[in-house]
């Protein structure tokens, strides 16, 4: 049974991630009075891209070739390292919040390198923008988990989830502040409004799309899949670190299935929240994003003050 549960933990993120992306796009389409594509469309897109030939710049180095595999692998490792449906699958090496934050930073770093590698103007400014945002996001990201780790007296995400689930309501003021901070960080890291518009290729606005403009075929499929994985990882972190109810500590089939059901419902609620947020706000000017990220950092710092 343990092997089956570990397999589920490992495969859950890559299997479900395109679905939640499809749900997000569907809800956004409904908000715009459009029917929108089927929620399984991201799976079809990946299938199509995996069966297409690649076109690669002759200036591309090994970094450009290897980056999609590396980024995709990192998201798989991340997906297996965070609490999804169970509290007992912890491992001391990768479930530490600092390891998670820096694995996310590592994937961003390689994506930015791949963006500038082929020397195109779009890739260059996309990478420049991405690294500017990443530098500001990292502090808020670390501080948001630091606040939780002060509450739980542990830096292990599984222990934090277990500890937060039994906290009294008196302890929830800092958690509310940290959650708001985390949502801002999540929108930035996953390239959503008001930081980035994932549906546009406008020179003035794109960040993530600019970096991957030179990719095609299988490598583009891997990058797109990795982006979907990252989105689900952040949704799962939001759902299970701040609302950790429904995680199971048992290994029997019924507990695991019900915990999986609760996980899907929680992530669906968060996806709907992101879709509503994306449909109701405009993309900010680049120089206003600093303020927003600093807000996230200060909210986390305030939460730590309240805890200490």
């Amino acid at each position: 049974m343990t092997i089956i549960i570990w397999t589920i933990q490992l495969a859950l993120v890559p299997i479900l991630s395109p679905l939640f992306l499809g749900v997000l796009r569907k809800i956004k389409a409904r908000f715009q009075n459009r029917v929108g594509a089927n929620i399984f469309q991201p799976y079809r897109n990946l299938w199509k891209l995996f069966h297409k030939d690649e076109v690669m710049s002759e200036d591309a180095s090994w970094i450009f070739r290897i980056a999609p595999y590396l980024i995709f692998t990192i998201t798989i490792i991340l997906g297996a390292s965070i609490p999804l449906f169970s509290t007992w699958l912890s491992n001391n090496l990768l479930s530490d919040f600092l390891a998670v934050v820096y694995l996310v930073a590592l994937s961003t770093f390689f994506l930015a390198l791949a963006g500038i590698d082929v020397g195109s103007a779009f890739g260059g400014f996309g990478s420049s923008r991405e690294m500017t945002l990443a530098a500001l996001t990292e502090g808020g990201f670390i501080f948001s988990f630091l606040a939780l780790s002060f509450l739980a007296h542990s830096t292990n995400l599984f222990f934090i989830a277990s500890a937060v689930s039994v906290l009294p309501l008196f302890s929830f003021t800092p958690i509310v502040l940290v959650f708001i901070s985390f949502v801002i960080i999540m929108l930035c890291e996953t390239a959503h409004f008001p930081f980035d518009n994932p549906a546009t290729h406008l020179e003035l606005t794109m960040v993530h799309e600019a970096m991957i403009l030179e990719y095609s075929g299988k490598r583009l499929a891997l990058i797109e899949w990795a982006a979907a994985n990252k989105f689900l990882i952040f949704l799962a972190l939001g759902a299970n670190m701040f609302f950790p109810w429904g995680l199971t500590a048992q290994t029997d089939a019924w507990s695991v299935v019900s915990a999986l059901g609760i996980f899907v419902v929680k992530v669906l609620i968060l996806t709907t929240f992101v879709a509503i947020l994306e449909s109701s706000i405009a993309k900010f000017r680049f120089f206003r994003l600093y303020d927003l990220l600093f807000t996230a950092f200060i909210l986390s710092a305030m939460a730590i003050l309240l805890i200490l």
Partner: protein
């Protein structure tokens, strides 16, 4: 999960505190008024709760009056002001966004520092809630100081009043119902006066920004 009454009160106090913090973050006057409405509604819940616990009909009447004045009348006047003078945005502040947030964080830390810890002896069950309401008082005073727009300053004063009421409620230092009726009447008169006064200021200076009022006398 079972919630006790003091936990629910603490959660509501948290919302008052968060509303005070978010008043510094929002850029639209309509959002500012919505946050004030939320704050006032929570204060009404406190009063209604107190009326039910003490079985006081007079206190229930006070709660209804507070609801009428703070949740309906005050936001109505402010919305009218926004529409009449086209003051949708209120983003101008003396300190920039990050510095404002730093000050808010410092004020929150100050409210939880050892300087104010003796105040927690006023209350047995909910000391953290009391310190949060104190933080909300300080943050509301800072809103009053930091914003340049007159409308924001008005909301700042009313938010300060809400924070003081919640502080009094949590420390069990509430005024008598008769006194509260007097206070809410004062508040109603104050709202009407500032509404008229804001109109006169706009007529004279053509704006509701307090920084342009350097010369109050005609030259």
């Amino acid at each position: 999960m079972m919630f006790t009454l003091s936990q629910i009160i603490f959660l509501l106090e948290t919302l008052i505190f968060l509303a005070a913090v978010f008043m510094h973050l929002v850029h639209k006057n309509s959002s500012l008024i919505s946050l004030y409405r939320v704050q006032s509604f929570i204060v009404c819940i406190f009063i209604f709760g107190s009326a039910i616990v003490t079985s006081s009909a007079l206190l229930m009447f006070v709660g209804i009056l507070i609801f009428g004045v703070k949740v309906i009348v005050a936001p109505y006047f402010f919305t009218k002001l926004i529409k009449a003078y086209h003051v949708k945005s209120t983003s101008s502040t003396y300190l920039n966004g990050p510095t404002t947030l730093l000050v808010v964080a410092v004020l929150t830390g100050l409210a939880h520092s050892h300087y104010f810890q003796p105040l927690t002896t006023l209350v047995g069950e909910n000391p953290d809630g009391l310190l949060l309401s104190l933080a909300a008082i300080l943050i509301s005073i800072f809103l009053l100081i930091n914003r340049k727009g007159i409308l924001s300053q008005m909301v700042g004063i009313l938010s300060l009043e809400n924070a003081i009421v919640s502080f009094a409620f949590l420390s069990e230092l509430e005024a008598t119902p008769n006194m509260q009726i007097g206070i809410i009447f004062d508040l109603l008169v104050w709202i009407i006066i500032v509404y008229i006064f804001a109109g006169m200021i706009h007529e004279k200076f053509g704006t509701l920004d307090s920084t342009v009022m350097n010369n109050l006398k005609e030259e």
